[in-house]
């Protein structure tokens, strides 16, 4: 990106100050309104919730290694998969990319000193943590057995800790709404002079689309889940069939949010992938405007397809056909993105660094996840596949294979910027490959066993012991996957203390965050006001390929020494 620094440059301070060493007290962290510190605190919080959710996943996988179940009773199994779903969806996937990378990067990428509303940002962090701990408290005090979807009437009559859990989710929901309001205010009003909409990095576009989905969708699920609390707490009967209320209406309202919610999870991931692919192919993104608009059209169309979760409910055949048709149309903008990323690499100077390996892994898994989604979007195949492990495999391909791989790619890409240290490239590439292999081993067998009819949410399958083979493969894969997830946690933490100092721009990437800030950035992000004069992705593959030659020569020399 071309931008110029306006005004006189001040003399360099002898000891480089940055947002990490600006102040060392605990209070300066806990009450910080600096978007970078808040991003780092989110990083710690979501990692914690991910860890707990993973333990639940491990218990599920262990249980399913035997056709008769091993460890858990039916009730405990219900509570385990509910805990896994609730934590992973509400406390991890929905927030992970926007809250960690979005918070850290959006102001820097657009040339602002901070978010539009820094105090609101801090409030969302604490609401997120409060919500998370209420959810955890509900698990400790007896668990929740209605799944993450909380379908009525089960959720209104179940005698578990559903009310407390729903209050937690409600608070977390408002935390994401406040984050989204912050993003909208920031992206609309805080851009540096010259940072026009079409000069914005695609990371910003996808976060903008996400924020719109959040402010339109999240309040609907918040009120819907609140109504369940009201029914449980006050004995009202809004969805109660005895009174003439309609339980399917709950499903409609729930999926009105929860289908767009999958775009809340995946759109920010798309933004990361656009940045990484473009940087490590040394080419401007192919069809910038198409990629930007595809984010917006996914956000828009995402609100019109919720009925494809309900083909087997009481909705009419006509409704089913319409929802099915729009779901197919929705595949188009997603495909536009994948084709454009692929075309970005064509004639580029592709370099397989760790973030790029994660991004390529994302593309493979997302394509599988997306295409299997079409089987579920068409009414007649869905009738056979719904409620089976085929669905479980499908959304794990999109959510884990998509969002988490992109998130890890983004974390590896911006880690030197966030903490000023580089990690071991060897371990990074190894972890990307282990995760890719472990992931496919875990979830591909689930497509097959789901196609054969294994129902989801069952903790046994003694009626079809031949499925054990697939479950064993899946559990073995999940062990590899778990190990793969542990690796980055270890070597990234290690790099904080022992990693080599990263320069301001270790990847020679483009963008304000790389070219005009130090690593780690200072509290005000930029030393001088910024004036943007050209587009974001001015990579040049022919010239930039020489850069790698120099790199590799240096590596060879290092090794010879």
């Amino acid at each position: 990106m071309s931008a110029t620094v306006v005004g006189q440059s001040s003399a360099k301070p002898s000891e480089p100050k940055n947002y990490l060493n600006a102040d060392h007290t605990l209070k300066s962290w806990l009450l910080s309104v600096d978007h970078k510190r808040i991003g780092v605190m989110y990083l710690i919080a979501v990692t914690f919730f991910f860890f707990i959710g993973s333990i639940a996943a491990a218990m599920i996988r262990y249980e399913l290694t035997s056709p008769k179940g091993i460890l858990l009773s039916s009730e405990v199994y219900n509570k385990t998969f509910s805990a896994h779903g609730i934590l992973m969806v509400f406390q991890f996937l929905v927030v992970v990319v926007p809250a960690v990378l979005g918070n850290f990067l959006i102001p820097i990428m657009i040339g602002a000193r901070d978010m539009a509303y820094p105090r609101l940002n801090l409030l969302s962090l604490y609401m997120f943590i409060t919500g998370g701990f209420l959810i955890l408290a509900s698990f400790v005090l007896g668990g929740v057995d209605a799944g993450w979807t909380f379908y009525v009437p089960l959720s209104t009559i179940s005698e578990t800790q559903i009310s407390l859990c729903l209050v937690g989710i409600f608070i977390t929901g408002f935390s994401s709404i406040f984050t989204a309001v912050n993003f909208i205010g920031t992206i609309h009003k805080m851009r540096a002079p010259g940072m026009t909409w079409y000069r914005l990095p695609l990371f910003i576009w996808s976060h903008y689309a996400t924020a719109i989905v959040v402010i339109l969708g999240t309040p609907v699920v918040a009120i819907t889940l609140f109504l369940v609390v009201v029914e449980r707490g006050f004995g009202f009967g809004i969805f109660s069939p005895e009174l003439g209320g309609d339980p399917v209406l709950f499903q409609h309202l729930f999926w009105f949010y929860s289908h767009p919610a999958v775009y809340i999870m995946i759109l920010p991931a798309f933004g990361i992938i656009s940045e990484i692919i473009s940087c490590f192919s040394r080419r401007p993104i192919f069809g910038y405007r198409f990629v930007a608009y595809s984010s917006l059209s996914i956000a828009f169309l995402g609100f019109l397809v919720w009925g494809h979760h309900m083909f087997l409910s009481s909705q009419s055949v006509l409704q089913g056909i319409i929802f099915s048709l729009i779901s197919f149309i929705l595949a188009v903008p997603s495909a536009v993105k994948v084709f454009n990323w692929t075309l970005t690499m064509v004639k580029g100077s592709v370099h397989f660094s760790t973030p790029m390996l994660y991004a390529l892994g994302f593309m493979g898994l997302f394509v599988i996840g997306g295409l299997t989604g079409l089987y579920l979007a068409s009414v007649d195949t869905d009738v056979h596949l719904t409620g089976t492990y085929f669905i479980v495999a499908h959304f794990h391909y999109v959510m884990v294979g998509g969002t988490i791989l992109a998130y890890l790619g983004g974390i590896h890409f911006w880690w030197p910027k966030m903490f000023g240290r580089t990690y071991s490239e060897f371990w990074g590439r190894l972890s990307a490959m282990i995760i890719f292999i472990g992931f496919n081993l875990t979830f591909f067998p689930q497509f097959m066993v789901g196609y054969l009819g294994m129902p989801r949410r069952y903790h046994y399958y003694y009626f079809a012991p031949e499925w054990q083979f697939y479950h064993l493969l899946s559990t073995a894969g999940s062990t590899v996957l778990g190990f793969g997830f542990l690796l980055p946690a270890l070597y990234l933490t290690y790099s904080l203390f022992k990693g080599k100092k990263a320069g301001p721009n270790p990847w020679n990437a483009k963008g304000l965050e790389w070219e005009y800030t130090s690593s780690p950035p200072i509290t005000e992000n930029f030393t001088q006001p910024i004036l943007v004069t050209d587009s974001v992705y001015d990579y040049n593959p022919a010239e930039d390929s020489k850069m790698y030659e120099v790199d590799e020569e240096a590596t060879v020399e290092d090794m010879n020494k």
Partner: protein, 248 residues
């Protein structure tokens, strides 16, 4: 974070993340409007539920709605419309820099808000005494073996007769009545909660103005609370006809 980035002037203070006061004010308003969009969606789901049920059970809803006194609802509508007017005046005086009149208008708004809650208390109190709170004690219509289902309410007695809930016979299906009151209490309850939040916001705003807090640098905070209050008012403008004035 409250140190000023731009050079010191006599104008309002600019937070460090903004370039100038225009940017700060516009950004505040963008945020507030975005938040109001979420509020619209928040209540929108409830209005959808209401619409579907009324469409499905129109006759029962008509019969049950006679248990609500449209004069009480009308009184509250009047109170809230007045409060919207006083808020608009408060913003006007804030822009003019007339703090004294601004404070008076804000105070009048808070009074109106309390007036609204008082009316609502009488309504809710009478409903609860009449066993119309839709929980497990809910009772509606003619009960077998009883001459007349009729309970006195201390709340009703305190009111002039015109504002009392008329002791009409309870017609319509009791289950639908419970459904009706479930969404009635949920929607008006949530709206009442918004009124309480409004009172808290106005009180905080008045205190901050009174102590000349650095948080209040210009009229924009007043305008933002005002926007919120107009929204609360608007929700009631929809609630009133939908619940109190159902046509036959």
């Amino acid at each position: 974070m409250s140190h000023s980035h731009t050079k010191e002037t006599d104008g309002p203070e600019v937070y460090f993340q903004y370039e100038d006061i225009e940017q700060q004010q516009e950004t505040y308003l963008v945020g507030m409007w975005s938040f109001l969009v979420t509020e619209v969606m928040f209540f929108g789901a409830l209005f959808l539920i209401y619409t579907l049920y009324r469409w499905k059970f129109h006759d029962d809803f008509y019969l049950v709605h006679e248990q609500l006194n449209w004069k009480m609802g009308g009184l509250n509508t009047l109170i809230l419309l007045t409060s919207s007017f006083t808020v608009a005046l408060a913003v006007h005086f804030a822009q003019k820099g007339n703090t004294k009149l601004q404070m008076r208008c804000l105070f009048a708004t808070i009074l109106c808000a309390f007036g609204f809650l008082a009316v609502k208390t009488f309504e809710y109190g009478a409903k609860i005494d009449h066993h119309l709170l839709p929980n497990h004690h809910f009772q509606y219509g003619h009960v077998e073996g009883e001459e007349e289902h009729h309970v006195e309410s201390k709340w009703d007695k305190m009111l002039p007769s015109v504002l009392q809930v008329e002791k009409k016979e309870q017609h319509g299906n009791p289950q639908r009545a419970r459904l009706f009151f479930s969404i009635y209490f949920t929607m008006t309850g949530l709206h009442g909660l918004h009124v309480i939040i409004g009172i808290i916001c106005f009180t905080a705003l008045m205190i901050l103005i009174k102590i000349k807090s650095s948080l209040i640098t210009d009229y924009v905070p007043t305008e933002m609370v005002g926007l919120y209050w107009h929204f609360v008012d608007l929700v009631w403008i929809f609630l009133y006809p939908l619940y109190y004035l159902i046509p036959k």
